[in-house]
């Protein structure tokens, strides 16, 4: 086990969760962070799908890394990701039709997620399969938790619900409380991500630019 979870792999896994977070620090994958965070449920499923696909495409690219011709490496990476996403979407359609209907657009969107290309190019192309797998998990989860936090505030303040269940009591509305309509609009996600980055950098002072 010591070999499986050496200090390096631990670093590879924990880094993206905080100090090297794909959204908060590298500002990658912002597009989907805006698109799927109006409700908590799709945000969680999107986070998990990205994590799984990222981990496996990382492994595949890492296994192939010594054979991939340099000039077409981006194409090879894209083909691997696109093939994986298609397979996952087909399997969902056959065995979990309800989920696939709910996620129709989001699954396809994974192909265009910048984090995938970023990790494949920066990590999987020069590391062994096991580390690449861990790196994929770490980055996927780092992406997922930001999405969940953003979606939590957007759904709570924008619709007064969580997972579609009413959270803010009816008496609040009777007393004059109004849902913040701006919260369900994409720009608010950007502002929330910015707030997260702000808080994150005040805690981790070494991340602040001079």
């Amino acid at each position: 086990m010591s070999k499986l979870f050496s200090d390096k792999t631990k670093e590879v896994f924990l880094g993206p969760l905080s100090k090297n977070n794909p959204i908060a620090v590298q500002v990658l994958g912002i597009c989907s962070a805006l698109a799927v965070t109006a409700k908590l449920e799709p945000a969680i499923v999107m986070g998990l799908s990205v994590t799984i696909i990222l981990a496996f495409s990382n492994v595949i690219i890492s296994l192939l890394r010594n054979t991939i011709p340099n000039r077409i490496r981006i194409i090879v990476q894209l083909v691997v990701v696109a093939a994986l996403v298609t397979v996952v979407s087909e399997i969902l359609k056959a065995f979990a039709y309800d989920v696939s209907v709910q996620l129709s657009v989001y699954i396809g969107l994974i192909i265009t997620n910048c984090i995938l290309m970023g990790r494949l190019e920066a990590f999987a192309m020069s590391n062994r399969p096991w580390e690449s797998f861990i790196d994929g998990l770490g980055n996927g989860l780092g992406y997922a938790w930001i999405l969940v936090v953003v979606a939590f505030f957007r759904e709570l303040l924008g619709a007064g619900t969580l997972f579609g269940l009413q959270i803010i009591p009816q008496s609040f509305y009777e007393a004059g409380y109004v849902n913040n309509g701006l919260m369900v609009m994409p720009p608010m996600a950007l502002i929330l991500v910015a707030v997260i980055i702000w808080v994150h950098r005040s805690i981790n002072k070494e991340l602040q630019e001079k």
Partner: protein, 240 residues
């Protein structure tokens, strides 16, 4: 091995494409049957849902047999097409809408709920980002709405996407699509607080105006095709 070689690159790309195509074809081929069944079951569930039947965790096929008594194909002059090109259940409304009104073959499902016949009509239109569709169930008088079901491909979650939520769909129940003179008016979808002169209306979704208007247009266009069929019934309309 020199991986920067032109012929190696070409060979690599070719082999990769063939392998990926093979894998995808295999996956798609082996799952095709299951997916088609799922799509059919889902369509049954959607239609049953417009009849206010709870289909969650139920055998849609059994419910379908229990409630749906007839699957008809009608044309715009209210004639039942005896030998339709496509069976009612397999009609793709999008394709029919592209044809001239006289040439369209339209599906009509007749259901029996507690002894009373209900007529289910399928509707298809455009929302803000992509297609929207649904089913509208009418009472025996072919005028008042018994239930609706709407869904969408890619409307904004929390805004336009709310058309697929029960609260929005229930607003249509009891509304009339014909007026006292039995003229077809459809049901308007208006901004909350506003009203529509001379016809029944429901409140649209705040922040989802384009999708709401899309629903209104979809109802107008698709229910309008059956206008002649609705007028067959002799009971008076009840629109204000």
């Amino acid at each position: 091995m020199n991986t920067n070689n032109n012929s190696y690159t070409l060979l690599y790309a070719t082999v990769m494409v063939v392998i990926v195509a093979l894998v995808l074809a295999l996956v798609s081929g082996s799952l095709k049957e299951k997916q088609t069944t799922n799509v059919e079951l889902d369509k049954m569930k959607q239609i049953l849902s417009s009849l206010n039947i709870d289909t969650k965790d139920q055998d849609a096929k059994a419910l379908w047999k229990q409630y749906i008594t007839d699957e008809l194909v009608v044309n715009s002059t209210a004639e039942v097409v005896a030998s339709p090109k496509v069976e009612a259940f397999d009609i793709v409304l999008k394709k029919e809408l592209a044809k001239k009104l006289e040439e369209r073959e339209l599906p009509l499902f007749v259901a029996n709920i507690d002894g009373a016949p209900k007529y289910v009509i399928s509707v298809y239109g455009a929302g803000l980002w992509g297609p929207i569709w649904g089913y509208v169930a009418l009472n025996e008088d072919k005028n008042t709405i018994y239930g609706t079901y709407f869904s969408h491909a890619s409307e904004t979650p929390g805004l336009g996407a709310e058309i697929s939520a029960k609260p929005f769909q229930e607003k249509f129940v009891g509304k009339s699509i014909l007026n006292d003179q039995r003229e077809f008016l459809s049901v308007a979808v208006v901004k909350p607080g506003q009203s529509a002169e001379g016809q029944d209306y429901v409140d649209g979704i705040s922040g989802g105006t384009i999708t709401s208007k899309g629903v209104e247009k979809m109802l107008m266009d698709c229910l309008g095709q059956y206008e002649a069929y609705f007028k067959q019934s002799t009971e008076g309309g009840t629109a204000q």
